[in-house]
């Protein structure tokens, strides 16, 4: 997630403190001087990870510190799992298989590599699922397991989430 704020003296420190207080992880602080901007007012971008559900609290704390948040970037889905499927993937409607995950609204298939060796031979695919949190990932994988069972697809799960 990306936060943009006006840079006035002391604001950067004031902005960073609540992030760590809420268990967030600061990935980058981009401090870019724009030619048109004046010395006392700069734009600062902070890229950060924050445990789910704490964004509102962060914004309140920033406001209390007098930090003026200009814009909040897109929330990214940080949990990711790659799984491998083996079976007659096309004949069992691969787009439906993917759709069952996408349809949940809390997880989505963001990447897929498919290998189809020969007609009638089982194909193999690696799919990457993303979700906002671990619980949603677990639910998404449970759905995929049920679909795989129904369609006679072998599903190879990762030992650990990546």
């Amino acid at each position: 997630m990306k936060l943009e704020m006006r840079d006035t003296p002391g604001q950067l420190v004031a902005a960073l403190k609540p992030i760590s207080a809420l268990g967030g992880n600061i990935i980058a602080v981009i401090h870019q001087r724009d030619a048109s901007s004046t010395a006392e007012s700069l734009d600062v971008q902070i890229v950060l990870e924050l445990p789910e559900g704490r964004l509102d609290r962060l914004l309140e704390m920033l406001k209390a510190e007098g930090v003026n948040v200009v814009r909040i970037g897109e929330e990214r889905l940080l949990h990711m799992s790659s799984l491998i499927l083996i079976g007659h993937l096309m004949h069992t409607d691969l787009s439906d298989t993917v759709d069952r995950i996408d349809r949940t609204g809390f997880a989505e298939v963001t990447e897929m590599s498919l290998v189809m060796p020969a007609i009638n031979a089982p194909s193999s695919a690696r799919i990457t699922i993303r979700s906002v949190n671990a619980e949603d990932m677990r639910k998404a994988i449970d759905i995929l397991r049920a679909v795989a069972d129904q369609k006679d697809i072998l599903i190879i799960e990762p030992l650990e989430e990546m």
Binding site: S82, I84, I86, V115, P122, R126, L154, I156, P158, L159
Partner: protein
Amino acid sequence: MRIVLLGFGSVGQGIARAIHTKDLGITITGCADSRSGVVDDAGIDIGAALERKQKTGYCGDTRITPMDVVATAEYDVLVEVTPTNVTTGEPASSHIRTAIERGKHVVTSNKGPIALAYRDLQAAARRNGVCLKYEATVCGAIPLINAMQEGLAGNTVTRLLGVLNGTCNYILTRMSEEGLTYEQALMEARELGYAEADPTYDVKGIDAAIKLVILANTVLHLDKTLDDVETTGIDLLTPDALRLADEQDCTIRLIGEIVPGDGVLRVSPRIIPKTHPLVVEGTLNAVTVETDMAGEITFIGRGAGSTETASAVISDLLSIRDRYVQGS
């Protein structure tokens, strides 16, 4: 210390050879294979029995059955290393019960009785004041059971993960490294003697599942049967699947998993980073135990083989001698 040895195949002969060549203070007063037996309370001639087995296929007299040896010989410990029957546990379970009722300690490498009847057998052993040990049933030479019962005593195990079947690990290693198909890798494993003529028991994950049941019931104090293990084998894996894993610096291994808190027992092929300690080569076995105090501990070693299994059996024997039979 006097022992009788039931089962004179590869494991039994490995134990006999070790006792014959190393000065362990162990005398074999009886031994039997499925078709013959020999009893001598003064100690049998081990060299002669090994030679006889090699030449004729019999270790002793065809009129003497394994049960005769258990029931009549003079000994302190029964070593039960007959082939595993996972459906009934027999005839090993009867051999073990008979020895326990006679007040004899038991050491076994046989997975059947331990997976099917551990509670009963352990209760009988306690009643009779004898010891039942089974280190060799899981992961051959790796002293896993001893490490979990003694070395990690007091720890709470939050998860156990293991590569428990050398045949599967060999096949997956070859598929991953050489791009072989499952069939090609299996054929190679057979030629090298790593896979049985009927590989079902190994490649379908049944062998690994039985080992999970043994670990669950003996060291993790759960109450599980083979039916409780969600089991998926490796026989449907494609070289493409291994290539897809490889693209992400991962590979695929057959992993047995126990999560005691959830009661989950699972054997399935899993995607695993190549740098993970459980990614071992060839027929090796590996087990990672996650605990509350000791953190993560990984054991790696040879999971099968005549001398390797003998190592586990002899360690059990010496531990019994030191605790119970001292001075005899």
